[in-house]
Amino acid sequence: MSFVLVQVIVGGLLLGAVYALFSSGLTLVWGMMNIVNFAHGDFVMLGMYVAYVVYTLMGGGPILGAPLATLVLATVGVVVYFALIRDIMKGPMLAQILGTFGLALLLRYSVFWWFGANFLSMPPNIVGGTYAFAGLRIEASRLLAGVVALLVTLGLHLLLTRTSLGSKMLAVAEDQTAAQLMGIRPDTMQAIAWAIAAGATGLAGALIANFFYIVPTVGETLGIVAFVTVSLGGFGSVPGALVAGLLIGVIESLSGYLIGAIYKDIVVYVLFLLFLWFRPQGLMGKM
């Protein structure tokens, strides 16, 4: 295998880790409340813009930008939960899809109106430099994003499976009434889930903002990526999202390299449709 191909695969894995991070937020909310957030990709977009504002206008670096983006988005998540989700969850399917889809438009075009449709990019010196290992050249910003995203996704998995908070959330997901009888507040747990899910998108946005194009409509593409990842990994499963995210990152990078950059999105979308046709239960196979 040529070095170039290895390089492309490593790049795909690093990007895939970020996909896994924000997709685990979608899968958490979906698995717990059976609601699909169509604004999920736009949450990531918002995280990118928060990071951009912190870096360029406030002069902060990633040490300030990433936690701040996480915090801002977690707040957005809680607000959205109480203002919208809590009510549409009980409504018909039409209201659920329209509600989060409308939210996506609202966020996307508010940013569009404020910042314009231009492609923005980070100043190159924020996370500069390139590392070289054994002939591979990896940009520091991508390495940072990949490693942090991987660690946080694993941490999220541990949080959900090994802590009492995680058990409480699982209890609410299994049976709200029973959980309530055990003294767990479903409302609080679901709000926490939204804070975690949106916080993950904020962090993911701040991480990829260093090397991605920043544009209001990027949320649409990223939203579909998140959806494909979750359908592949099985909904509600963070490890599933991790494996699927890494896989999609690699597939996207390889098809971008082998077929052409403009076709990499098409490959992911077509893959998604093929999965719906032949294996709708996802790779991990529970549904």
Partner: protein, 323 residues
């Protein structure tokens, strides 16, 4: 009887409108309202009556628009001859999307529709034969009446009015047929409908294909009126958004809901565009997003459901946390 009177009043207003308000701007506005009402009524068949929220409906619009312009630009025929081709293309695509996803929960269907619309937009943008990013143009000077290329909006107005009437008639006929009964049963409770023998997936698929065919006609009409189509106006997500929001605002699942939605939103957009200029484009969609959120949160049945008691949305899940 009262319904019949209302119907004749609406029809009379619709026929008289361009004669009473006869400035070119007003006639064009009227034609646009009808055009979007056709597309939104077509969406209503699958989104309102079948309860499957297609958020990538523009893909069928684009099939019709490209087929109409393609039949002129590629074969020198009248754009009219492209309409059957557009319908075939749209129905085929609907089957490709619908067969796997309509078995699953509605979220999969919605996401798949976005994915297909985006795929089509990317493919068309990169296909030179279809004019790539520039798109295809219709006849600049009409060779005969069959080119359907007019300077005035008046002929389009009456053409669209006729097609809208046909679309509404088809919808009305559908709701009163066996299919309509199946759809209502499925929307209330798919599991119950299935257990009583209603072929749920197949009925939803038929509704989707019918909706796709009618949307494709709307796309062809759009392209004829504007004389061109490009990837954004043919396959851009914003057209999907407009179609969907008009139906939802007026009342998804109600016969005249889409028309009411179009009659409110099309003038709103035209006015905000002419007042705010280029800066208005973003703001218009901020407003659209806000409207959709507010409808979903407070009145999922749309505006018309405020007046029709009969078709109130079911409230079985509305009463708080009580077990």
């Amino acid at each position: 009887m009262r319904r019949l009177i209302w119907l004749s009043v609406v029809a009379a207003i619709a026929i008289a409108y361009p004669l009473l308000l006869s400035s070119p701007f007003q006639q064009r506005l009227g034609a646009l309202v009808l055009l979007y009402a056709i597309a939104a009524s077509a969406w209503n068949i699958v989104g309102g009556y079948a309860g499957q929220v297609s958020v990538g409906h523009v893909v069928f619009f684009g099939c019709g628009a490209y087929a109409a312009m393609g039949s002129y630009a590629k074969f020198g025929l009248s754009p009219l001859f492209g309409i059957p081709g557009g319908i075939v293309l749209a129905v085929g695509l609907a089957a490709i999307i619908g067969v796997p996803t309509l078995r699953l929960s509605g979220h999969y269907f919605s996401m798949a529709t976005i994915a297909v619309a985006e795929t089509m937009r990317l493919i068309v943008t990169n296909t030179d034969w279809l004019g790539a990013a520039v798109g295809l143009s219709g006849p600049t000077v009409p060779r005969n009446i069959f080119d359907l290329s007019f300077l005035s909006s008046l002929p389009y107005y009456y053409l669209f009015l006729a097609i809208l009437a046909i679309t509404l008639l088809i919808t009305w006929w559908m709701t009163n047929s066996r299919m309509g009964f199946y759809l209502r049963a499925i929307k209330d409770s798919e599991r119950a409908a299935r257990s009583l023998g209603a072929p749920a997936s197949r009925t939803k698929l038929y509704a989707y294909m019918l909706s796709a065919a009618l949307t494709s006609v709307a796309g062809a009409l759009y392209a004829m009126m504007f004389g061109f189509v490009d990837p954004e106006s043919g396959f851009g997500i914003l057209i999907s958004v407009k179609i969907l929001i008009m139906a939802a605002l007026g009342g998804a699942g109600l016969l005249f809901g889409p028309l009411v939605g179009a009659a409110i939103l099309v003038p709103l957009e035209e006015i905000s565009n002419s007042w705010l200029g280029g800066k208005g484009a973003g703001l218009t969609f901020v407003l659209y997003g806000a409207i959709i959120v507010v409808i979903a949160r407070f009145q999922p049945g749309g505006l018309l459901s405020l007046f029709t008691r009969r078709s109130k949305p079911t409230k079985d899940t509305g009463a708080g946390h009580a077990p």
